[in-house]
């Protein structure tokens, strides 16, 4: 939902970032307002996953230029955990398995960290169990997964459901979903996309990072951005995603070549 007067949640200006001294992001500009759903598309290596990790604060990525303001605040002054507590959420492409740490305990600790920041009371073990069982419905997840170690032995689909469950618990302001559709069959994709749709409100925003149109059949974006060589090359409405589906990314090379020549 596009409302020009809605709060500007994320304001990315000329963002540059490197990993192991190799420049990946080379001047990204993007504004995200409350209520909006953005899709960032592009080939492997275009920089779209790097963008998501930089926004969440992954230590392997170094910001070398530009600014990101989150609700007016300099995002890069905040530790990753502080960003999360303030409502920035990254749904991982490859959620990490953590043997020995119970999923339920992990979810409770992280939910309480966010609640504390929002001035809400901490949930004790019992209150949290009720709370989490409510949220399980969002992704139709079996409660048995709460008793297991975080993501350990989960299938690809179960891991992604667990990510969306965390999103439901943390109630983010800006949710960045990094290739949440990868490795999902069509049923799992519908469940995960259904979860994302249920959680979208006019006060929050979603940034979908994806390769494929098929996720966008389930979640309708307000904006589609195409990334290439570390920048956003073109922005359009959802028709841009459909066009990509038809024509592929060959025009990207032509456009990059033309820019290089110019």
């Amino acid at each position: 939902m596009i409302r020009p007067d809605a709060e500007l949640l994320l304001d990315i200006q000329d963002l540059h970032a490197s990993v192991e001294d190799k420049p990946i992001l080379k001047g990204v500009n993007l504004q995200v307002r409350a209520g909006e759903v953005h899709a960032v598309m592009g080939r492997n290596g275009s920089g779209k996953s790097t963008l998501s990790k930089v926004l969440a604060g992954h230590p392997a990525y170094r910001v070398t230029g530009g600014t990101v303001r989150y609700r007016g605040q300099d995002l890069f002054e905040l530790e990753p955990e502080e960003r999360a507590r303030l409502g920035v959420f990254l749904g991982f492409q490859y959620p990490v398995e953590i043997p020995g740490v119970s999923n339920l305990e992990f979810l409770r600790v992280s939910t309480n960290a966010r609640r504390e920041k929002q001035g809400e009371e901490e949930l004790d073990t019992f209150a949290f169990e009720d709370h989490v069982h409510d949220k399980l419905k969002v992704v139709q997840m079996d409660p048995a997964f709460l008793e297991r170690s975080v993501n350990e032995g989960f299938s690809g689909g179960e891991k992604k459901r667990n990510e969306i469950l965390q999103m439901a618990l943390l109630e983010p302001v800006v949710a960045i979903l990094d290739e949440t559709d990868s490795g999902l069959d069509i049923d799992a994709l519908r469940i995960v996309a259904g979860g994302v749709n249920q959680l979208a409100t006019e006060d929050n925003a979603t940034l979908l990072i994806t390769h494929y149109q098929r996720l966008l059949d389930e979640i309708t974006p307000d904006y589609v951005h195409v990334m290439a060589a570390g920048r956003i090359l073109r922005t359009g409405g959802r028709e841009l995603a459909l066009e990509l589906e038809q024509t592929g990314y060959d025009w990207v090379d032509q456009e990059l070549a033309a820019q290089g020549a110019a």
Partner: protein
């Protein structure tokens, strides 16, 4: 009574020690050992006083026995139903049998215990017996203790062993267990100290067919530590589970030497050994699995997972598989790693601060083993002890 049986054993032990001398680094099982520390342990005088610390109350329904190596372990003790003490004749017959079957009767730590132990606690277990807790609390000096358990056919026992020490003291502990057919022993060992004391614990277990032995060991805080579980499945067809957690810090050295031998077909082993090494400490794991020709259709899996918590800590891990039988499944693996950035970042990205995330990951790493300890372990707060030692 016990001492009369042990007297000739002691004499033989002393003679053997004299002949063997102290171990040296040319001997494979001692290649990595800090021998100066071993020498200091061997020179300790026998302890004659119990550990001054008070013990937490045992869990309800658990029978506690405290042994120290100099008092009669059975004095004033009411044994739970199903457990009886062996008489001198029975003891003489049983003593050393399992050590011979395990092939460890003549190794140095066992001969050392032979030479030093004055008392033995020897029990027979029949039927299904309530949980037993054995506390070995070392006062200053050397605490040489010896325990023998005959778990009869179809008997079931849950045994929690706790070894405690502080200051200039050491444990030399020798346990022999014979498990009859279809017998079950769930065995927990929590060996915890303050960084100054030393530990030599030798656990020899002999399993008849269809018996089940499950050992969970948590060892932490020893200046020089050596835990040696040795299991033999005398006719195969038994189940063995070994789960170990070794935690070292400061300049501690802790070695876990396990040996499992299948002297018959269709035996099973499920083994996980975890080491967490911090400071300038050194953790060693040696896991021998022996599958001779008769041990067809053995199914064994051994995994050694090690976490280095500092740049100066060291881990040596070595699987030692000797497989002659051809129709077997023996899987083994070893990893040495540091706390993963990705795991930390994942937790941080969920609002959990770096320090808390680290603690959560370490808790998780320990809990995988600690959760397997028998219920009686609770009162000793094993997870808290380990976490406190990791935090210091």
């Amino acid at each position: 009574m016990a001492s009369s049986v042990l007297a000739p054993v002691q004499e033989r032990g002393r003679a053997a020690l004299e002949q063997l001398g102290l171990p040296n680094r040319r001997q494979e099982p001692w290649r990595l050992t800090d021998l100066k520390r071993l020498e200091a342990v061997s020179a300790l005088p026998a302890s004659s006083s119990p550990l001054p610390t008070s013990l937490p109350a045992s869990l309800k329904g658990v029978t506690r026995m405290v042994i120290n190596g100099f008092d009669d372990p059975l004095a004033g003790q009411v044994l739970p139903e199903g457990i009886t003490a062996l008489n001198a004749e029975e003891l003489e017959q049983a003593l050393g049998h399992t050590l011979d079957r395990c092939g460890c009767a003549q190794v140095w730590p066992v001969e050392f215990n032979h030479a030093k132990a004055q008392q033995i606690l020897a029990l027979r277990v029949r039927g299904r017996v309530g949980p037993l807790e054995l506390v070995l609390a070392a006062g200053a000096g050397l605490n040489a203790t010896r325990v023998l358990l005959l778990v009869e056919e179809k008997a079931e026992l849950e045994l929690m062993q706790v070894l405690l020490a502080e200051g200039a003291s050491a444990h030399s502990h020798l346990l022999e267990v014979h498990l009859g057919q279809e017998a079950q022993l769930r065995h927990g060992v929590l060996a915890t100290a303050d960084g100054a004391s030393s530990l030599m614990a030798h656990l020899a277990v002999e399993q008849e067919p269809r018996s089940s032995y499950s050992l969970t060991s948590v060892v932490q805080g020893w200046n020089l530590g050596r835990l040696e579980p040795r299991v033999v499945q005398v006719d195969g067809q038994a189940q063995t589970v070994l789960k170990g957690l070794a935690v070292t810090g400061a300049d501690q050295q802790l070695a876990t030497h396990t040996a499992v031998r299948f002297d018959g077909p269709e035996g099973e082993l499920d083994q996980l050994q975890k080491c967490l090494a911090g400071g300038r400490s050194h953790a060693i794991f040696n896991g021998a699995i022996n599958v001779p020709r008769d041990a067809q259709r053995t199914n064994a899996a051994q995994l050694s997972r090690n976490l280095l918590l500092s740049d100066r800590a060291r881990v040596d891990t070595k699987p030692e598989l000797e497989i002659v039988a051809d129709d077997v499944r023996c899987a083994h693996g070893a990893t040495v790693s540091q706390l993963q950035d990705d795991e930390l970042f994942y937790l941080q990205s969920r609002g959990i601060a770096a320090a808390e995330a680290t603690a959560l990951l370490l808790r998780g790493a320990c809990q995988e083993v600690i959760a397997q300890l028998p219920a009686a372990a609770q009162v000793w707060r094993p997870l808290e002890r380990v976490m406190e030692s990791l935090a210091s």
